[in-house]
């Protein structure tokens, strides 16, 4: 089994009297350590799927397995804890906490939850991450003093600070110019290789999917393509029935 597995997932949003079926029965499996792109045009269901993988939303039907465990029966507190422990988030509009400076924004997830990290160890780790994303000179700056690219770098460091197994990035480059967007993806890819963190990013830009090891294409809430780069056949996790 993979680190993330979706099994016949449907998501229906009530919208006034009508219902919008944003995801219409989607199954796929993701291998640990992969760099995955979820691609598709606007409205195809990318955000909806990432939200369900990220446990910030729950499917109407079907099951999301994280690390082999089903998540549909978990309550809000358990989901929150699981998000904190296993997931990292990168958002399209960066979503840094405006009153915290760069260092504090990165530190923030470490101050939540029960596990306390040693002070020196924590400092070294955050400093290392800041260096990794190239913001050593900006650690005391507030988000509104940074450029978009810099903000997204902070967000990447923040997503990694709890050493999550999976980092989810919903259109992380959509608010950046293409050169900066490319740099951000390169950075994510580099960290993916160094830390073996599974990255799942969504994009509607067909040109940047090439960087991925595994591409899942969506259209109208359905998977239209699902393949790992080195494989000819559709992607399937080891041990899963074909």
């Amino acid at each position: 089994m993979g680190i993330v597995e979706l099994e016949n997932v449907r998501k229906i949003y009530p919208l006034g009297k009508v219902q919008v079926e944003a995801v219409k029965g989607v199954s796929f499996c993701i291998e640990k350590g992969d760099f995955i792109s979820i691609a598709g045009p606007s409205g195809s269901g990318k955000t909806t799927i990432l939200n369900m993988v990220g446990l910030v939303d729950q499917p109407t039907e079907g099951e999301v397995y994280l690390d082999g465990k089903p998540t549909s029966k978990l309550n809000d507190a358990e989901l929150t804890r699981l998000r904190h422990e296993t997931l990292g988030f990168i958002f399209q509009s960066f979503n840094l906490i405006p009153v915290l400076n760069v260092w504090e924004n990165i530190e923030f997830p470490l101050l939540l939850g029960k596990t306390r990290v040693g002070k020196d160890e924590k400092k070294d780790w955050i400093d290392h991450l800041i260096e990794e994303v190239g913001l050593s000179e900006w650690r005391k700056h507030k988000p509104n003093e940074l450029s978009g690219g810099q903000r997204q770098r902070v967000a990447i460091a923040r997503a990694l600070v709890t050493r999550p197994q999976i980092v989810l990035a919903d259109e992380p480059t959509a608010n950046l110019d293409s050169a900066t967007g490319e740099q951000i993806l390169e950075l994510m890819k580099k960290i993916n290789r160094e830390l073996e963190t599974t990255f799942i990013f969504s994009t509607h830009d067909a040109r940047i999917v090439d960087i991925a090891d595994h591409i899942i294409r969506l259209r109208d809430g359905l998977v239209t393509e699902n393949r790992r780069r080195e494989e000819e056949a559709p992607a399937a996790c080891q041990g899963a029935e074909a």
Partner: protein, 439 residues
């Protein structure tokens, strides 16, 4: 410091204008209420201390005798038992005064005026000399047997000067008409509406006018180290007197509806009959017991103002925090995604409101204290009509710390109630909703 509390505190600095506005509203409300509380806090003590100065005591003992026709006359003939009881009581006595007094008519060159004259032993009551400043004349001339000190107002109404002879008409303790003659020895600075109360003569001469022997008098005043000792000292002295002399019961209730304990005590003597001198012990607090009702009314008013102001302010707080919640909806979603629990979101809002309330309340109290300090600098003079509620001619304030703390607590609670609903809404949002709704 708790991360979320820290963020809440910093969030207050984001919309400085809004924070300052809401904080000022809270501060203003607290300031008004604190000023009233401070005034009420000093009010009863000031009135009581001023009265005890005028009446020369905190605890009083007066004697009553039944005369002919069941008429009571006020006299203490032999105070050895009283003196012994005061001494034995261990009360912190500064000094003891012995006074007789009458209400009579002063007459000078055809002008007449009703007034109370207190006969005091001025060789003993040096305190009176310090308290009562003379505008004209001198205390030394009080050595004349029939010397009299009048307040400025009475002296001018009679149009008398120091050295003039003033005729007096009065009744003796037994009800006989009598006349006497005073020589004006001094004119004191006016003490406002109580100026009328402040005519002083020698005890011996007053006694002779009202028909008492030179060593007799009517009321013993026991001046203590301060008002606060009053009740304990009264209890102790009463305890020493009890059983030794005839004594009116303390703390009697009057079914006919006496307003004050002192009135009840006075009515009691009309109903009883006895032989010889029977003593009555009372305190300045009993004489002034209605003051407490005024204080209670002031504090109630302050409480009502506090609540009314804060219901208005609460509406503002609720609206503001509903706005704040929508402004920060993306942040709420982000934090929830990163692992902040529902309770965390709620407490972040509650912290923010609490800090705002505490900041406003502390500022309000500080402002009130400054205002009190400034107001109490003004010298209204001893002749101000409001003299009796002041301390030495200055308005004074005393803010009972518990009341201030209670006000802060009320504000904090009301504020928390005011943000409970927006905070609850923020906590209820699912992270996906919050993230989706962000601008």
């Amino acid at each position: 410091m708790n991360t979320l509390a820290n963020i809440a505190l910093r969030n207050l600095t984001r919309q400085k204008k809004r924070t300052v506005l809401l904080g000022s509203a809270i501060a203003f409300g607290v300031m008004i209420v604190t000023l009233i509380n401070g005034f009420a806090g000093a009010f009863s003590a000031n009135v009581a201390e001023n009265f005890s100065d005028l009446m020369a005591g905190h605890v009083f003992v007066s004697g009553s005798e039944k005369g002919e026709g069941d008429k009571t006359l006020s006299v203490i003939r032999d105070d050895s038992a009283l003196t012994a009881a005061v001494e034995a009581s261990g009360a912190p006595v500064r000094y003891v005064t012995r006074r007789s007094s009458f209400a009579g008519t002063l007459i000078f060159e055809g002008k007449k005026l009703q007034t109370n004259v207190d006969g005091a032993d001025l060789s003993q009551e040096t305190f009176l000399r310090d308290r009562l400043l003379l505008k004209e004349g001198s205390w030394d001339s009080m050595s004349d047997e029939n010397a009299l000190i009048l307040s400025e107002k009475i002296a001018s109404r009679l149009n008398v000067d120091v050295g003039d002879l003033i005729l007096v008409q009065l009744e003796t303790v037994t009800g006989q008409a009598n006349v006497g003659e005073f020589r004006l020895a001094g004119v004191s600075y006016d003490a406002g509406i109580f100026g009328q109360m402040m005519s002083y003569a020698n005890l011996g001469y007053v006694n002779s006018l009202i028909g008492l022997a030179p060593d007799e008098y009517q009321t013993m005043g026991i001046m203590l180290d301060g008002l606060k000792h009053t009740d304990a000292a009264a209890e102790a002295i009463y305890g020493r007197l009890y059983g030794g002399v005839q004594l009116f019961e303390r703390g009697v209730k009057d079914e006919d509806g006496a307003v004050t304990p002192f009135q009840a005590l006075m009515r009691q003597q009309k109903k009883e009959s006895w032989e010889g001198v029977k003593y009555r012990l009372f305190t300045i607090n009993e004489v002034l017991s209605q003051i407490e009702q005024i204080v209670a009314a002031l504090d109630t008013t302050a409480g009502v103002i506090l609540v009314v102001l804060f219901v208005i302010i609460m509406v503002g707080i609720t609206n503001t925090f509903s706005m704040v919640m929508f402004e920060r909806i993306g942040e709420i979603g982000t934090m929830r995604a990163l692992g902040v629990h529902r309770g965390g979101v709620r407490s972040m809002f509650l912290y923010e409101a609490l800090f705002l309330a505490l900041g406003g309340a502390v500022a309000g109290i500080a402002l009130a204290l400054v205002a009190m300090g400034v107001i109490s600098l003004f010298d209204f003079g001893m002749d101000s009509p409001a003299f009796i509620i002041m301390r030495n001619g200055h308005l004074s304030f005393f803010l009972p710390p518990l009341r201030a703390a209670a006000n802060v607590l009320i504000i904090a609670l009301l504020t928390l109630v005011a943000v409970a609903s927006p905070a609850g809404k923020a906590a209820k949002l699912t992270p996906a909703e919050a993230l989706r709704t962000q601008k």
